[in-house]
Amino acid sequence: MFSVLASKGKTSQANKTGSWRSTLKPKYLQKNCIACNLCKFVCPEGCIEGKEKNKYSADLDYCKGCGVCAYICPKKDIEMVPNDKE
């Protein structure tokens, strides 16, 4: 007899931590992006997607709104805006 001792890789994706956000969320202006990839590289959630200029975005189902991406963007092309704003 066994019980839950082990888990297949990456099953945490079931946990949508985007619900944690209360104040701010990142808005990708997608105007001056140079595809440096830094936002994607440093996101603590690893939830940023994109490969081409002005095509990066954060997956809001997981984004906790920490604001690190906005801080690191060399072109200031990410803004932290109120979470309940469209």
Binding site: M1, F2, S3, V4, L5, A6, S7, K8, G9
Partner: protein, 391 residues
């Protein structure tokens, strides 16, 4: 092939034939000869394995945990302080369902420091979830190691095994042992093929955080699986008997109990001495018998009860004590005996104090005459003082 060898050699040879691929070693008397022999086997190519000299017993147990979860058969060995030091890892290995094999060369626990035999060490970890078996002699030790691997590695079981051997008495004793040959062991024990392991082609996370929503079921599963060993062990024992002719792998053993009015209960090498005394007593018309416990965990309640029912007087010999209460074996056996039996508990042999013919005769006599919950045998009154004084 029959060999007249030191117990450690026989046990190391048995382990070698089971083809462990990682052996973790840390010295502590009296198990050290076992890991030394294994290191020799590896050094001269007789055993294709990694023998790692870790920096403590905690790391020895951790290393075999890592090797086992990475998919190979392992072996380690310790005693007393070493076993206690690896205590948390011992619990963890069982909880993680890894069939690690360990020989525990039973030795007393500090303080005072004492390198001689009693069974306090392994008994203190009886709750950890390991299969625990006790060998009476070196033949049994060899057979229990080989069979132990097979039982623990069963895909439905996947539990670690502790083969307990009385330190010095068995490890350093010279006995004739019938060593099976490699071919027989290979036939009996197939290569280790676990249902789960670390694998880059199948990435799994092991050792998850088990919060209150899942922990209980994990422990229940462990408990139930240990109980299943009560069925599996005799089956494997029967298979082993077919191949070797030997009956070493069983839950309990009865010696002259059929018509006994007094039955002693014990584990380990003292059983050999008790059998000799029983033969002597039988000459005098004394109807004494022995119930030897081989498999201590899981606890074979039914097998034990059947034997206890036969006699009126039951004397339990503990080479350990749950301080402030009584001997561990006594507590568990007493609970099984019918209320009309006269059940006595004896503590003997702690710290290597010899259990002699006289000691055993005293135990038999006392069992018939009176009822004691926790009677220490061979106590030296002159060493018991009311106040602390420096010797």
């Amino acid at each position: 092939m029959k060999k007249f060898i030191e117990g450690s050699w026989a046990m190391a040879d048995a382990a070698k034939m089971c083809r462990p691929q990682v052996v973790a070693a840390y010295p502590i008397t009296p198990q050290t000869h076992i890991v030394e022999h294994l290191a020799e086997f590896v050094a001269n190519g007789e055993l294709k394995a990694e023998s790692v000299n870790v920096e403590s017993e905690h790391s020895a147990a951790s290393a075999v945990l890592g090797a086992q979860i990475a998919g190979v058969r392992t072996f380690t060995c310790t005693s007393s302080q070493g076993l206690l030091l690896m205590g948390e890892v011992v619990f963890c290995i069982a909880g993680m369902r890894l069939p690690v094999m360990m020989i525990c060369a039973n030795r007393a626990i500090s303080a005072p420091i004492n390198i001689w035999n009693d069974q306090q060490d392994s008994i203190s970890l009886r709750d950890a979830g390991w299969i625990q078996v006790y060998a009476e002699n070196n033949q049994e030790a060899v057979d229990l190691v080989i069979a132990g691997y097979k039982i623990g590695e069963n895909a439905k079981i996947m539990l670690p095994i502790m083969v307990c051997v009385d330190g010095f008495i068995l490890t350093h004793g010279m006995e004739t042992v019938d060593m099976p040959d490699q071919e027989l062991v290979d036939k009996f024990l197939p290569p280790y093929d676990p249902p789960y392991k670390l694998d880059v082609n199948n990435p799994i996370s092991f050792g998850l955080l088990g919060d209150p929503t899942v922990y209980l079921e994990n422990r229940y599963a462990l408990h139930k699986t240990l109980e299943e060993v009560l069925t599996l062990l005799p089956k494997v024992g029967a298979e082993y008997k077919q191949l070797t002719g030997r009956d070493s792998v069983k839950l309990v053993e009865e010696y002259k109990t059929a018509d006994a009015d007094t039955i002693l209960v014990a584990m380990g090498s003292v059983c050999g001495s008790i059998k000799d005394v029983i033969d002597m007593e039988r000459q005098k018309g004394n109807k004494v018998g022995l119930l030897k416990i081989v498999c201590y965990r899981p606890f074979p309640k039914e097998a034990i009860k059947k034997v206890l029912d036969k006699a009126q007087y039951i004397g339990i010999v503990d080479k350990d004590i749950s301080l402030g209460a009584e001997g561990a074996l006594y507590t568990e056996i007493k609970a099984l005996a019918d209320s009309n039996k006269k059940v006595s508990g004896f503590v003997a042999g702690l710290g290597g104090r010899d259990i002699t013919v006289k000691s055993i005769q005293t135990i038999i006599e006392s069992t018939k005459k009176e009822v004691n919950r926790c009677k220490f045998i061979d106590l030296k009154q002159e060493l018991l003082w009311d106040e602390f004084k420096v010797a």
